[in-house]
C-alpha cells in the first residue's frame, strides 16, 4: 500500500496546534499532505469520520521481557499489544535476562524488533552493569547501538555517588536518566502502599516517602550534574510537588504517570488481588488526586503504562509471593479518556500531548508530530464507542490486568506505523481499506 488517505477525521497535532477535520495523505511511509479535501486517485482510503487522527502514541515505559522471559511476553507479542492499545512507538526497559547493559544486547533487541515487532521499539539501556547499582554500564556504546535513555527500572541505583556519575555520563551523551524512584531500605519487604489498608490487611507497607526521598535526591543530583532527569511512574503527592518546584527553578526534569496511578487508589483494591500489585503501589486517594492535578498543571509530562506482563502461574500465588506489575498497553487510552477527558480534567488535545510530544520532549525520538514530511506514525481513536476489555483476548502473552471486564467509553481504533496499518479494531474493519477508483 504505497498511498493511503485518512479521510475526514478530526486531526489533532499538539506540536502545531492543529485541531480540525482534515484528510491526511500518507505516501511511502511519510505524511505527504494534510488538507481539507485531498484528491488522490488510486490511493487506499480509510474513513476516519468521527475519529481522532493523532500523531502515533508513544509509551515510554514498557517491559517486553525478551530476552529471557519469553514465557511472559516477547518483543512480538508486546508490540502487538501496543498496537492494539493505539501505540506506535514503545520504549523497552532493560530488566531482561541478560540485562540490556551493553551494546550487544541493545543490538539484539533492535534486530529482533526489526524482524518481529509491529511498532517501533526504542530500547532503554541500564544505568549500571546488570542493574546491580555498582559499576556504570557501557552507556556510550549502548547509545551508539540505539538506546534512547538509561534506567535501572525496578532495581534503582541506591548509591548517590554512582547516580551522580551516571547522570554526568548520560548528560555527555545526550541521554535522559529515567529513575524508578524507590529507597529500597525504606520499602524493604513491602507489598502495598503503607496506610490504613495495609494495616487492615496485614500486608507490609511501602511508604510514599520511599519514593519521595529518591525524587528529592535525584532532583538535587540533576542540578549538580546538569543531566535530564525523568521520574518513572510518579505516584506520590510530595513527589509531584517537588517536581513542580524543580521545574519552576528551570531544571531539566520531567515525569510520567501511569493510568493505574491516576485511576485507582489503595482503598479500591480488592483484598489480596495480585492484579492490583505493582511498584510503586496504588497510593492513597490524596495521591491519586495529586497525580491528576500534576497532569492538569503540567508538572507531569507524559502518560506511560509500565506494561509489566507476568505469566499466570506467577500471579496465582499468595499476595506477598506475587511479582509486581500489571499489563497496561491496551487499556491506557480508555482509562485516560474515562478519568481525565470525560471528567473534564484535561482537554483532548492535552491528552494527545501526554502520549506524543510529552514523551518525545524527554526522549527526542523524532516522533509524535503530524506534519508533512514526518514519519507516518498515526493513532486513530474514538471517544464515544462503548467497549469492554477482555484480557483473555489480549495480544499480550500475559493476563495480569485489574481492568479485565471493565467497560470503557472510547478507545483505540487503529495504529499506523511507517505508513502501514498494523492494527485496527474489529468493529471498524480497517484492516482492508477500500481503494478509490
Amino acid at each position: 500500500m504505497e498511498k493511503l488517505i485518512l479521510r475526514n477525521g478530526r486531526v489533532m497535532d499538539p506540536a502545531s496546534g492543529l485541531d480540525a477535520v482534515r484528510d491526511v495523505a500518507i505516501e511511502h511511509g511519510r505524511i505527504a499532505a494534510i488538507g481539507p479535501t485531498i484528491e488522490a486517485a488510486g490511493a487506499a482510503e480509510l474513513d476516519a469520520t468521527g475519529l481522532i487522527v493523532a500523531p502515533g502514541f508513544i509509551d515510554m515505559h514498557v517491559h517486553l521481557r525478551e530476552p529471557g522471559f519469553e514465557h511472559a511476553e516477547t518483543i512480538e507479542s508486546g508490540s502487538r499489544a501496543a498496537a492494539a492499545g493505539g501505540f506506535t512507538s514503545i520504549c523497552s526497559m532493560p530488566n531482561t535476562s541478560p540485562v540490556n547493559d551493553n551494546a550487544t544486547v541493545t543490538s539484539y533487541i533492535i534486530e529482533r524488533a526489526e524482524r518481529h515487532a509491529v511498532v517501533n521499539v526504542f530500547p532503554i539501556g541500564a544505568i549500571t552493569k546488570e542493574s546491580a547499582g555498582e559499576q556504570l554500564a557501557a552507556i556510550g556504546l549502548m547509545k551508539e547501538a540505539g538506546i534512547v535513555a538509561i534506567s535501572d527500572d525496578g532495581r534503582p541505583v541506591m548509591n548517590a555517588r554512582v547516580m551522580r556519575r551516571a547522570m554526568e555520563t548520560a548528560r555527555s551523551f545526550g541521554l535522559p536518566v529515567i529513575d524508578h524512584c524507590e529507597d529500597l531500605h525504606l520499602s524493604a519487604g513491602g507489598d502495598m502502599n503503607e496506610g490504613v489498608q495495609s494495616v487492615r490487611l496485614g500486608l507490609r507497607g511501602i511508604p510514599s516517602a520511599s519514593e519521595d526521598v529518591m525524587v528529592a535526591r535525584d532532583i538535587l543530583l540533576a542540578e549538580l550534574t546538569g543531566a535530564r532527569f525523568h521520574v518513572a511512574h510518579i505516584s506520590s503527592r510530595h513527589s509531584v510537588a517537588m517536581l513542580a518546584f524543580a521545574k519552576a527553578r528551570g531544571l531539566a526534569v520531567s515525569a510520567e504517570a501511569t493510568p493505574h496511578h491516576f485511576a485507582i487508589s489503595d482503598h479500591e483494591m480488592p483484598p489480596y488481588d495480585s492484579n492490583y500489585k505493582m511498584k510503586p503501589p496504588l497510593r492513597s486517594t490524596c495521591d491519586v488526586t495529586a497525580i491528576i492535578e500534576g497532569i492538569v498543571v503540567g508538572a507531569i509530562d507524559a502518560i506511560a503504562t509500565d506494561h509489566a506482563p507476568h505469566a499466570g502461574s506467577e500471579k496465582m500465588q499468595e499476595f506477598e509471593q506475587c511479582p509486581f506489575g500489571i499489563l497496561g498497553l491496551e487499556t491506557a487510552i480508555g482509562i485516560t479518556l474515562e478519568r481525565l477527558v470525560h471528567t473534564g480534567k484535561i482537554t483532548l488535545m492535552r491528552m494527545v500531548e501526554l502520549f506524543t510530544t510529552g514523551p518525545d520532549r524527554v526522549l527526542h525520538l523524532n516522533r509524535g508530530r503530524l506534519a508533512v514530511g514526518a514519519t507516518a506514525d498515526v493513532t486513530l481513536f474514538d471517544t464515544e464507542r462503548v467497549w469492554t476489555y477482555d484480557v483473555n483476548r489480549s495480544a499480550s502473552k500475559s493476563r495480569n490486568s485489574p481492568f479485565d471486564g471493565h467497560t470503557f467509553r472510547g478507545g483505540p481504533v487503529a495504529a499506523i506505523v511507517n505508513g502501514k496499518i498494523v492494527w485496527a479494531a474489529d468493529h471498524v474493519g480497517l484492516g482492508v481499506p477500500t481503494v478509490s477508483q
Binding site: 503503607e194 496506610g195 494495616v199 487492615r200 490487611l201 496485614g202 500486608l203 489480596y272 500465588q317 499476595f319
Partner: protein, 302 residues
C-alpha cells in the same frame, strides 16, 4: 457462614453471638465431655503451613468431639518451596472432597486467595499478620464467662500490634460489641492507622496509661524475629512493655489477664502475673475447643 470463616471483620454481631452462645454449651462443665455425633462422617482437613501445636490440636479435638474425622497435615515451608504451589496443594486436597479445610498460613490473605478458587469452606486458623478469628471468639467467650457483657469494657491489648493477627481479630470483635480498646506497644510496632480500623480504638506508647482502669489486659507474644523492628532489647522490652505485678494495681480490681500463648515468661509477662489468680490463660485454651466446636458445627452442621 456457609462459605467458611475467614475473619471477624466481615461478621455481624448476631453471627458472633450465635457462635459464642453455642460455644457455652460445648464447655466441658456444661456437658459431660461435650461429645456428640452430629458431624459423623464429615471430613475436616487441618492444613498447617506454619507450626502451631496448640491451635492444630484444639481444632483436632473439636472435630473429634463432634464425631468428625480430622486429618492434620503440617506442610513445612520446604515442601512448598519444592515447587508445588499453594493452588496445586489445595486443588489436590479439594479433589479429595473434604467438608472443610482449616488453614494456618504465614502469608496474610492466603485463605482468602484460596477461597476464591476452591468450593470447600475454609476456616482461617491464622493468616500472616491479618486475622485469627477463632482466637478472638475464644477470647470473647472467656471474657463473657466472667462479665455479663462486652459493652463498655476497657480492654488493653499490649505488644507487637502491627504484626498481630490476634490483635486485629480481637479489635474487630470487641469494637462491634462496644468495648473500649486501648492498643499499646513500641512506636514502630504500633502504626497510627490502627486507630482507623474500627470504632472505639485508642493508642498509647505508655503501659501505665493502657492498663489504667482496664477490665481486661491482653498480652501478645513477643515475636523474636520482629525484635529488631522494635528497636528494643529483650530486657528493655520487658522494662517498658512486660506485664509485672506492680502494674496490676492500676487496673480494675477484678481485671483479668489474657494471653494467646505460648507465653514467654520474663519477656512480655512475668511468671508472677502469668500464674496469678488474675490470669485466665488456661481458660482460654479450654474455650478454644468449645468455640471451635461451635464454628465447625455452624459451618458443617445441617
Amino acid at each position: 457462614m456457609p462459605g467458611g470463616l475467614l475473619g471477624i471483620e466481615p461478621l455481624d454481631r448476631v453471627e458472633i453471638e450465635g457462635i459464642l452462645d453455642r460455644a457455652k454449651r460445648f464447655q466441658p462443665r456444661q456437658t459431660a465431655g461435650g461429645r456428640s455425633d452430629q458431624l459423623r462422617g464429615r471430613m475436616i482437613v487441618n492444613l498447617f503451613f506454619e507450626a502451631s501445636t496448640r491451635t492444630r490440636t484444639s481444632f483436632e479435638i473439636a472435630a473429634k468431639r463432634l464425631g468428625a474425622d480430622a486429618i492434620s497435615i503440617t506442610a513445612s515451608a520446604s515442601s512448598v518451596s519444592k515447587g508445588e504451589s499453594l493452588v496445586d496443594t489445595l486443588n489436590t486436597l479439594g479433589a479429595m472432597h473434604p467438608d472443610a479445610i482449616v488453614m494456618r498460613h504465614a502469608a496474610s490473605g492466603a485463605p482468602h486467595f484460596l477461597a476464591r478458587y476452591l468450593p470447600t469452606p475454609i476456616i482461617n486458623a491464622g493468616d500472616g499478620t491479618h486475622e485469627h478469628p477463632t482466637q478472638a471468639l475464644l477470647d470473647a467467650r472467656t471474657i463473657l464467662d466472667r462479665r455479663p457483657t462486652l459493652e463498655g469494657l476497657r480492654v488493653a491489648i499490649i505488644g507487637d500490634i502491627a504484626h498481630s493477627r490476634v490483635a486485629r481479630s480481637n479489635m474487630y470483635l470487641l469494637s462491634k460489641f462496644g468495648a473500649q480498646i486501648v492498643l499499646c506497644g513500641p512506636a514502630s510496632l504500633l502504626p497510627p492507622e490502627l486507630a482507623q480500623l474500627a470504632p472505639n480504638i485508642s493508642l498509647t506508647h505508655k503501659m501505665e496509661d493502657a492498663i489504667r482502669d482496664a477490665d481486661v489486659i491482653m498480652m501478645l507474644r513477643v515475636q523474636l524475629e520482629r525484635q529488631h523492628e522494635a528497636a528494643f532489647s529483650a530486657n528493655e522490652y520487658f522494662q517498658f512493655y512486660g506485664l509485672r505485678p506492680e502494674h496490676m494495681s492500676r487496673a480494675r480490681p477484678d481485671a483479668i489477664v489474657m494471653h494467646p500463648g505460648p507465653i514467654n515468661r520474663g519477656r512480655e509477662i512475668s511468671s508472677e502475673v502469668a500464674d496469678s489468680q488474675r490470669s485466665v490463660i488456661l481458660n482460654q485454651v479450654e474455650n478454644g475447643i468449645a468455640v471451635r466446636m461451635a464454628v465447625l458445627e455452624r459451618i458443617l452442621g445441617n
